[in-house]
């Protein structure tokens, strides 16, 4: 089976569904919604691995990646605000706390910088040379 043409779009659709469902239907409570968001996050990373690291991403992969990355980060930020407002995430068997949620949102922002950050080749070369003596 050619993963780049058949299975992967279905995975992007699954991530899209999971993010969209919890964004629209806020009725499960903070902890359940957060754990569902964590599951969406994991599926996003797995799909990213398939499309962007084990294969060459298509233009559709890049579009889906950018859109869902932004949607996941925005939803994570909303959950984080609610967690702060509630005095933190409720204790849970998975051991996820507010600091972890914050770190996950920051991880997504870092991924946005990684793929969408703007820098001239000259500036990149200058930084790598200055800090690591490589080009």
């Amino acid at each position: 089976m050619d993963m780049s043409t058949s299975l992967v779009p279905a995975q992007w659709n699954a991530v899209d569904f999971m993010v969209d469902f919890h964004t629209r239907y806020k009725r499960l409570g903070l902890l359940t919604e957060t754990l569902a968001w964590v599951a969406s996050f994991a599926l996003f990373r797995e799909t990213e691995t398939q499309t962007h690291y084990l294969n060459q991403p298509t233009s559709e992969d890049r579009r889906q990646h950018k859109t869902l990355l932004a949607a996941l980060a925005a939803e994570g930020q909303r959950l984080l605000r609610r967690a702060h407002h509630a005095g933190g995430l409720p204790e849970n068997l998975d051991g996820i706390n507010t600091a972890d949620l914050e770190a996950m949102v920051e991880e997504l922002r870092t991924t946005q910088l990684q793929w969408e950050g703007d820098m001239t080749p000259q500036r990149r070369e200058q930084i790598l040379k200055e800090l690591f003596d490589v080009t």
């Binding site: 051991g95 600091a99 972890d100 770190a103 820098m119 930084i127």
Partner: protein, 77 residues
């Protein structure tokens, strides 16, 4: 530590952060930031700039790691 090794440690810490379980995210984020801050100390380069400058190298690093993991798993099956 050589500068090459310092760079490798940053890329590994970035990978560890992305691959860690949800309950270990803040710990791995802090470790990554610590290495970034060590590398840029004494310069006027921001964390964001350093991340963007390392982006291509990180893509190559993670692609190699993911392929290595898949190869190891397929040998076990």
């Amino acid at each position: 530590m050589s500068r090459d090794a310092e760079l490798e440690r940053i890329l590994q810490a970035w990978f560890d952060w992305e691959c860690s379980s949800a309950a270990a995210k803040s710990q791995h984020r802090d470790a990554f930031h610590h290495l970034l801050d060590e590398a840029r100390s004494g310069s006027n380069i921001s964390r964001q700039e350093l991340i963007i400058a390392l982006a291509d190298r990180y893509r190559e690093f993670r692609a190699a790691k993911e392929k290595e993991i898949r190869a190891r798993l397929s040998r076990l099956r």
